[in-house]
């Protein structure tokens, strides 16, 4: 008999039909009676005092209904790190000064979007332009301008991680290598740009439709900046067109639409243009890494030290977490006798940086996995075997940081080794690059200071046996509603089509921290499993009472069939049992409740996924152009739950990570992004995507529902380094800056040639 009926079977997305037939209502689609359209005036200066804002002429324009500035707000400095007031540093409509180009200054509501746009030109803002600084290493100089009062040398946050005797471990090393790396930013590039429709009514209620990763966070943050009770705010995010870490903080769309709506008592819709999404949201954190690694000649890792400066941009956002996680995952997936990380996040007058899929780890792996490959080459060792020798294993403890209960990295190495062998000899200018990584399965961070469980779920069984599953978890396109429906169906013993998932509505769904930190499968999945088991227990109590079986017989429900485990052929329909149970409860529906809050699971995560990425790359030596030919993803995600969803997530992660590796540049000049459009900012297109076959490495994670853990975010981490390593093996050049531009390859080849010539002479 199959172990599972629904888990890891081919289940189509529960919201697939609504999406492919265009019936899914995204925030972009919301229209309310009497709705106005909002536009935001943005700062043209990277650093300036706001002296005066005169919007009289804008108000005179026919069709303009209202204008708001920072003076219409409570002036609250907000941020998602609510436990640490110093890090709540952003007024979304600033009162006194602007700190980056694109920062909101005023917002207009008008009868049409076009009128609102015209009105922006009629607002007169007087600025006193201040000196600005754009790079962290310039911003820490004594003479650099002060961006936030009280933050000496513009240092926003520092993070330090250390274990073992680092100096002693370096003394044991027989080979030490040090390198400097640079990693660029990256735009979240959601299909649906930031968007919100806010509707404030005279009874003091604010309803907000928002493209969000965490409606619960939005409600809490809005309450704080608007001076409302959380219960007076309803946030609805039924369908969300992507998040990738960029949609769980307040943004200009939600804040400005809410402030305008409260002032005018009419619904106001703001949808960012693609350019606004580029210049006025947040981005992946650019980092400069110094890495020193000590190893023995047989490849045993001894010690590592990393010093990192991150370009924080104008505000904290989620950057403080990224600063910690980059240092933590820089050690992964290996064992170090001594490890030290010093991270410094520095304010600059650029677009703020924040969380993005991988949460600091892609930058960490770009540096770590390339340096490891170079060390193996320096010592003449097989890089996979060197990795294997030092890798984590089930039962390993990262000192003071994490317990690894399940780890399939060793099997990942096996699968990739076999794939390379089968490939045989490759044509000229073509090579395979490798990179390993590990990632969290549910972040244990409560900077938000939530008093609620991290995840909650309610299962309600109707008279006909169908199930209403209410979750606070947010589906942002990653398919969490489907995954949770699968878990619910499996736990309850019904079919997937029996489950109706309700999510993305703070008035009707239980609190949940939302879609970030690879939380949903493990944390929300556990909550759903608990709720379904609670409901099932109530049903089985009735079944036992009427069965007449010996009490030692175990009853179960599977595929809607109620039966004794010892005699599965003898049973009856689940719907009959539901009817009896509801009658027996005086007509009340069966309700099961579940929750998940991590306890004693270390500082970072209750579980960790592991993976290895292999990429076959071809490089044109004359132009430096990179072409991805083939790939293999070996991924340990515990027990797979949503098979199709898993494949989609891994393909998507590969695409985003490869884009970070060689396509997606964010060049700034004097604080201004030079390519804020999809013509000049290159993302992976279908024609550039190689085949992305996935080797699922099944392990069992005791903390996960049915043994499941993360899939989809972690694979953003190794891919850029794998591309760099392929270039190293194909051409013998070491790429230290990411994304890799063609001219960097050509320059590196020229340098290499010149050095070789010098050596000959």
């Amino acid at each position: 008999m199959k172990k599972y009926s629904v888990i890891n079977t081919h289940v189509h997305n529960v919201d697939g039909i609504a999406k492919v037939t265009g019936r899914a209502i995204y925030t972009f689609d919301v229209k309310l009676p009497g709705m106005l359209y909002g536009k935001i005036l943005r700062s043209p200066h990277p650093h300036a005092k706001i002296l005066d804002i005169d919007y009289g002429k804008a108000l005179d324009l026919p069709g303009v209904i209202g204008v708001v500035t920072g003076k219409d707000t409570l002036g609250v400095k907000q941020g998602i790190w609510r436990r640490y007031q110093d890090l709540c540093d952003e007024q979304i409509l600033p009162v006194d000064k602007v700190r980056y180009i694109g920062e909101p200054v005023a917002a207009v509501a008008a009868m049409t979007e076009e009128i609102a746009e015209q009105a922006l030109d009629l607002i007169d803002v007087q600025y006193e332009v201040l000196p600005a600084v754009y790079e962290p290493l310039d911003a820490i100089k004594k003479e650099a301008p002060e961006i936030h009062e009280g933050f000496e040398r513009n240092i926003n946050v520092t993070r330090h991680i250390e274990w073992g005797d680092v100096e002693g471990a370096f003394d044991e090393a027989e080979y030490i290598r040090e390198d400097w790396f640079k990693c660029g930013g990256q735009a979240h590039m959601c299909m649906e740009t930031r968007a919100a429709v806010s509707s404030y009514t005279p009874d003091g209620k604010l309803t907000v439709y928002h493209s969000s990763q965490s409606p619960y966070y939005m409600r809490g943050l809005l309450a704080g900046v608007l001076g409302l009770k959380e219960s007076s705010i309803r946030v609805i995010s039924h369908y969300v067109g992507g998040g990738f870490g960029g949609k769980f903080e307040l943004d200009g769309a939600i804040f400005c639409s809410a402030v305008l709506s409260m002032k005018l008592c009419r619904p106001v819709k703001i949808v960012f243009t693609r350019e606004e999404d580029f210049i006025a949201t947040k981005r992946r954190t650019p980092m400069s890494y110094y890495v020193r690694t000590g190893v023995k000649k047989d490849g045993t890792f001894c010690a590592r030290e990393a010093k990192v400066f991150t370009n924080g941009g104008a505000y904290t956002g989620m950057g403080a977490t990224a600063l910690y996680l980059t240092g933590f995952f820089h050690s992964f997936p290996y064992r170090w006798k001594g490890y030290r990380y010093d991270g410094y996040r520095v304010y600059t007058n650029t677009l703020p940086s924040t969380s993005m899929r991988g949460f600091g780890a892609p930058q960490a792996m770009w540096c770590s996995e390339q340096q490891i490959e170079w060390i193996a080459a320096d010592l003449g060792l097989d890089s996979i075997e060197m990795r294997r020798k030092n890798a984590h294993y089930s039962g390993y403890e990262v000192p003071d940081q994490a317990s690894i209960a399940s780890c399939g990295i060793d099997q990942c190495f096996d699968v990739v080794q076999k794939w390379i062998k089968e490939k045989g000899k490759l044509p000229e200018n073509r090579a395979i690059g490798l990179s390993a990584a590990g990632f969290m399965s549910g972040g244990i961070f409560n900077w938000f200071d939530s008093p609620y469980s991290f995840s909650s779920a309610v299962v309600t069984i109707n008279y006909d046996g169908t199930v209403e599953l209410h979750v606070g978890a947010q589906d942002i396109g990653q398919g969490s509603n489907t995954t949770l429906a699968i878990i619910c169906a499996e736990a309850l013993g019904v079919k997937i089509e029996d489950i109706k998932v309700h999510s993305g509505d703070t008035d009707h769904c239980p609190a949940d921290l939302g879609a970030w930190g690879s939380r949903q499968t493990l944390m929300a999945g556990n909550a759903v499993k608990m709720a379904a088991e609670d409901a099932k227990k109530q049903l089985l109590e009735v079944a036992y009472a009427q069965s007449g079986f010996n009490i030692v017989y175990d009853l179960d429900i599977k595929n809607r069939w109620v039966h004794a485990l010892a005699r599965p052929e003898r049973g009856y329909d689940y719907a009959e049992l539901v009817k009896k149970a509801i009658r027996g409860k005086d007509g009340q529906r069966i309700v099961g409740r579940g929750y998940y809050t991590p306890h004693r699971k270390g500082m970072i995560s209750p579980a960790y996924s592991y993976m290895m990425q292999a990429v076959e790359v071809e490089i044109d030596k004359d132009t430096g152009k990179i072409k991805l030919i083939d790939s293999l993803t070996a991924h340990d995600c515990g027990q797979p739950i949503n098979h199709l969803g898993l494949i989609g997530q891994l393909e998507g992660a590969f695409s985003m990570a490869a884009g970070y590796g060689y396509l997606e540049y964010m060049p700034y000049e004097d604080g201004k992004l030079m390519n804020p459009n999809l013509v000049d900012y290159k993302v992976m297109r279908a024609t550039e995507m190689p085949e992305v076959p996935v080797a699922e490495i099944d392990t069992y994670e005791p903390e996960g529902p049915y043994g499941a853990k993360e899939a989809g975010e972690g694979l953003t981490n190794p891919t850029a380094a794998a591309i760099g390593n392929a270039i190293f093996h194909a051409l013998g050049v070491q790429m230290k800056e990411c994304p890799i531009k063609p001219e960097m390859i050509v320059n590196a080849l020229n340098e290499k040639e010149a050095k070789e010539k010098e050596g000959k002479e």
């Binding site: 040398r153 240092i155 330090h160 100096e167 040090e178 110094y290 010093k307 410094y344």
Partner: protein, 77 residues
């Protein structure tokens, strides 16, 4: 065995009880009272922090740890 080192500002016991851990705690906390204490010892908090950031090794923590150790004798029980 010597007594575990306590932070001269907030009294918090260092993770392993060592002076170097206490120095890490002071840098990590980095609030006004901790900065002021470091400055009062004739050191510049920000310069120590930046030295730790820009040079390999652990010199800044070691420097601060030595001073913390010296002050432990003067701390009340």
């Amino acid at each position: 065995m010597s007594e575990p080192v306590k932070c001269p500002v907030c009294g918090k016991k260092a993770k392993t009880g060592s002076a170097i851990d206490c120095a890490r705690h002071m840098f990590g906390t980095g609030d006004k009272p901790h900065r002021a204490w470091v400055e009062a010892q004739g050191l510049s908090f920000i310069d120590l922090l930046l030295e730790q950031a820009t040079t390999p090794g652990n010199r800044s923590y070691v420097v601060l740890a030595e001073i913390i150790e010296k002050t432990q004798e003067r701390l009340p029980e």
